[in-house]
């Protein structure tokens, strides 16, 4: 997994609530056998018309906005467990998603792919949207070690939570599977005492 320590970037605003995984990557694009290439179909049906032409006013098609940070409305990533949602955001080039609330499975999938979900309060999220509205090139700084999210223009600093284990994984680029494989002895010992019907 890629390491993530600090990010300095502009951001892409998507002030829509309950963005579900079918919007992030529609099911008809889940037929691939690898983790790559999903970025082309990220937000496919909001980004393109049925005939393949760009929807001009969708934010990913607006040259004013760019960056490694996606800022989205409440309850981002609800719906299915498809990890393809995290893969498509990562493949497109996002490293961080900011929202006031994330769906559980999406959050776990994001963290397992080095994509950092940052949960801010509703008021803080509003300030981030306002900063981008005022200046589409507004810069933000994320310091994972310090667990801070900074709006550079106003020097507003917000702190965010992350579990200490997952934080260590992101900082060092470790996968869960590396850890679990190191625990096989304990797992086998656990199995020996388990009664199964």
């Amino acid at each position: 997994m890629k390491k993530l320590t600090t990010i300095y970037s502009t951001a892409v605003p998507l002030p829509i609530e309950d963005v579900d995984t079918d919007q992030i990557i529609p099911a008809r694009f889940l037929k691939a056998l690898t983790r790559k290439g999903f970025g082309n179909n990220l937000f496919r049906d909001w980004r393109y018309y049925g005939d393949g032409n760009e929807v001009k006013d969708f934010v990913l098609n607006n040259d004013m906005y760019s960056g490694e940070i996606l800022v989205a409305g409440n309850n981002f990533g609800c719906g299915s467990s498809r990890e393809h949602a995290a893969w498509s955001l990562d493949d497109y080039g996002f490293r961080v998603v900011v929202s006031s609330f994330f769906a559980d499975i999406f959050k776990a999938n994001a963290l397992n792919n080095g994509l950092l979900p940052i949960q801010l309060s509703k008021e803080e999220l509003q300030k981030v949207f306002c900063a981008i509205e005022k200046n589409p090139k507004a810069e933000f700084a994320i310091d994972l070690e310090a667990q801070t999210f900074t709006i550079k223009d106003s020097e507003s600093i917000f702190s965010f939570d992350i579990g200490s284990y997952k934080k260590m994984c992101l900082l060092k680029g470790y996968d869960d599977i590396d850890y679990l494989l190191s625990q096989r002895d304990k797992i086998e010992a656990f199995e020996k005492q388990q009664v199964i019907y």
Partner: protein
């Protein structure tokens, strides 16, 4: 110390902990073609095998055609994905119910049907509706592909313990109100994110009175309010359902199992992080009007007058509905009866009972997609296929089908589909498709009438 059923089962499966995150042992892992190929690739890259093949079971369901399953799959990408599942299962020694096999079907239908799903287990699958299996008193939830790989490699995943919520529903359901209405009602009350961070236990006399299949419908949609899973403590209804199934314990093992399963309940004074109570008598046939499952109303209610919420307005624009509108009498073009929520034999019987001797509206197309080959065979044995054919309904072969529109079963852009599935997201049933979620009887009645009706008027 008193504990909830969830906490008892969770504690019994914790192998170890690291910084507050638990290493959770998984008793049963189901896999399918869409969320497993990258996980198997991970094993190959590391040069490791599946740690416990006997606890892993595969089926092809998400991406399969629902007609002419005996012929080669037309779409090359779908074909490659289904073949990849076969190849991976063969290479790693995982048992697989491949397309066309007499026990193939939707993963959350075949697990219980075969007796693989049992009380007290931890169960995962790379699909969010794994919560279905919680109906047996197990901890069952959906995972992403990285966690599929972890489970294949170690039979464990790393998880933070969720909080617990008990939803109690007491009283009797009115006629025409089904398990699907219970869960749509709860989600409408708690919203599409109201359960996030929680694992739910459903309790109360209205839940106890449900059949096993109906309980599965309730637990299935727990994820639609954001909850990882939902469970129901096992009782004689559960044991009677499991008894005699292919993978159920036999003889002495059976009586030992029932003795143990009978202990699986929350203690009287157990404390949940959150409690919600509803009166069964307040539940009516439900329909959704928006683009998430929390946007549901009683059939005789109007779309709420929510002001100044951009996402709400966007949702109504997509559906071409307006605030204050009633859905009674609204014309629909398609009916989909299927999915892991409502494609079991009882669902098909409810539909057949109503449809017998009636005809579908000429303006409506109707797809009935059974949940498994065994459901399909049972329907034929009972003569339901004849009833459906006579009514102009099409009984297809099993698969996830138009629930998520991965295969060719899609609803055309701009058209309305009343669907027994679980998600009404934008484009879920095909780009531009407009989905209205409801119970099988509501769907059947709409099919016959060509428009949405209040099924309580049918009695």
């Amino acid at each position: 110390m008193s504990a909830t059923l969830f906490d008892k089962l969770w504690d019994a499966h914790v192998v170890d902990s690291i910084d507050g995150t638990d290493v959770l042992y998984i008793d049963q892992h189901f896999i399918h073609e869409v969320t497993s190929p990258q996980a198997f690739d991970g094993l190959k890259t590391r040069g490791i095998s599946v740690f416990r093949v006997e606890k892993t079971l595969g089926t092809a369901d998400h991406n399969v055609p629902t007609i002419n399953q005996h012929l080669p799959i037309k779409d090359p990408m779908s074909k490659a994905q289904v073949k990849k599942l076969s190849d991976n299962c063969a290479e790693f020694g995982v048992e697989l119910y491949q397309l066309g096999h007499e026990k193939n079907g939707i993963v959350h239908i075949i697990g219980p049907e075969l007796g693989v799903t049992k009380p007290g287990m931890t169960i995962v699958c790379g699909d969010s509706h794994t919560s279905t299996h919680g109906a047996f008193g197990s901890i069952a939830f959906g995972i992403g592909t990285s966690q599929v790989e972890q489970t294949l490699a170690t039979q464990c995943i790393l998880m933070n313990r969720p909080k617990t919520m008990r939803i109690t529903i007491d009283g009797a359901l009115a006629k025409g109100v089904f398990a699907k209405d219970i869960i749509l009602y709860i989600i409408a009350k708690l919203t599409a994110s109201g359960g996030t961070g929680y694992f739910i236990e459903y309790a109360g006399s209205a839940i106890r009175a449900l059949s096993m299949e109906a309980r599965m419908t309730v637990c299935n949609m727990s994820i639609e309010m954001g909850a990882r899973g939902g469970m129901i403590a096992p009782d004689t209804v559960t044991f009677d359902y499991i008894y005699g199934r292919e993978r159920a314990p036999k003889d002495k093992q059976w009586s030992d199992a029932v003795t143990y399963w009978s202990t699986l309940k929350s203690d009287e004074d157990a404390i949940f992080d959150r409690e919600e109570r509803f009166d069964a008598a307040d539940i009516a046939p439900m329909v959704t009007y928006g683009t998430n499952p929390g946007m549901g109303i009683k059939i005789d209610a109007q779309i709420p007058e929510v002001l100044d919420v951009a996402s709400f307005d966007k949702s109504l624009r997509y559906m071409n509905f307006h605030k204050g509108q009633s859905l009674i009498g609204h014309k629909i073009q398609h009916v989909f009866i299927g999915s892991c929520t409502n494609a079991r034999i009882e669902d098909l019987r409810i539909v057949a009972d109503y449809v017998k001797g009636r005809q579908k509206s000429k303006d409506v197309s109707v797809m009935i997609v059974p949940g498994s080959k065994q459901v399909e065979a049972q329907a034929k044995k009972e003569g339901l296929d004849k009833i459906f054919t006579d009514a102009g309904f099409q009984l297809r072969e099993p698969g996830c089908s138009a629930c998520l529109g991965m295969n060719e079963d899609k609803i055309p852009s701009g058209e309305y589909c009343i669907s027994t599935s679980n998600r009404n997201f934008e484009g879920r049933q095909g780009p531009g498709a407009r989905t209205i979620l409801a119970s099988p009887l509501m769907a059947a009645a709409a099919a016959v009438n060509g428009e949405i009706v209040d099924v309580r008027q049918l009695y």
